[in-house]
Symmetry: none
Subunit: 234 residues, 2 copies
Amino acid sequence: MPANHFVYPTQQAWIWDTTMESYHRHQSQQLGEGMNCEKEPMFEKPLTPSDVGKLNRLVIPKQYAEKYFPLDAEAGEKGLLLSFEDENGKIWRFRYSYWTSSQSYVLTKGWSRFVKEKQLDAGDVVIFLRRRGNGDRLFVGSRRRGSGQDSITAGSAAQPPAMHWNPAFCQSTSLASSSYLYLNSIPQEEQSSEATEAGTGNSKKLRLFGVNLECGHLITGSQVMSRKASGHQL
Amino acid sequence: MPANHFVYPTQQAWIWDTTMESYHRHQSQQLGEGMNCEKEPMFEKPLTPSDVGKLNRLVIPKQYAEKYFPLDAEAGEKGLLLSFEDENGKIWRFRYSYWTSSQSYVLTKGWSRFVKEKQLDAGDVVIFLRRRGNGDRLFVGSRRRGSGQDSITAGSAAQPPAMHWNPAFCQSTSLASSSYLYLNSIPQEEQSSEATEAGTGNSKKLRLFGVNLECGHLITGSQVMSRKASGHQL
DNA sequence: GTATCGACCTGATTA
DNA sequence: CTAATCAGGTCGATA
């Protein structure tokens, strides 16, 4: 990977390339390490046509999924609701789950809205970051293909709303007062009202970002019922 | 339909045309009715391009589906796993279900592998048979288009692995000791192992080939729950 | 009717 | 070679 050296415009509205490399460099240079702004890049993914298409899902490469968003076996059934902040402090809630049939981790619900609002296209790159601290927070951003170290430099111009990171985002702790990491169980909207005691003792433990969490009732009783020993282990 | 008279080669390796007519004739002539070899043809279908294409499914004409593979309303949601033996005793498991959107009965999972292995093309004919007895068994075969009573005589030759039935298949009771009819619920591969008591009362009844069967846990509780009144009735 | 979502599936590619 | 991955699909339910 070639280091990509950007000259940042000396304006208030900074435009970042959001490569992990430049991110780190920028963070160190402009803000220092001690400013309560340690968003750690977790991973990036160049979006495939399917990721931005009608399938309304983002496949998260397994290596990253299992490293950063581990689902324990129990939570795996219905997934989790993960909340991410974007560069404006807006919260994006994505359902995150594992598809056993394809052995893949996906963001489903909410993802298509993100693609639409950010006007993401195939080849653009999403980046996921976290800030460790009292209650971890998750962040999501994107950059246009061709920006940063991408291979394709894309002759097409004029794609306004792609992701721009600016330093203010890095201090959004105050900005987004209600934007703390939300890590919830999937709301049980489509689940049985009889679910109440079918899955007794069904509250789940999840370790995410080094934090142990309780997730209530992620699995319906009957789904729990019929799992085979062949289920994947995380 | 013109009766198609075949002269069988007087060799050990019989080549059958698998038309129902010749099947019956052959069975009676060569083996008699009492040889524990009463495979009854149920139906045939000339394969459409879609049946052998990327859709990975076989549409079963409704009249045959409802006659031979009735799905009760409950089983309709997830379908069934039907197992068929081919002429070699190999078991082919196909998911069988009803698609409300197209109002059609289909074999889905497993079908594409069958098409591939048998190298079936559009115009080739699949034939489904059953043997009644202690535990019904299902059989599947195929023949090339142009063989038997087919309309298209197909100028193209040289398609080796198409289906050939030979009399040995008819006595495969011993041959395929492990090849009894498997009539299972869809394996719940992706589901939980803690299955034990959560989904009580979830076993399903299915009448198939005049045999009433219990199919455990075809439907998860939440699926049952969300079934709409619009489900098809059989 | 349309869009989204959840679950399931498969083939091509690759480790 | 086999096994794992994942891009690109399906249907059906829901909103």
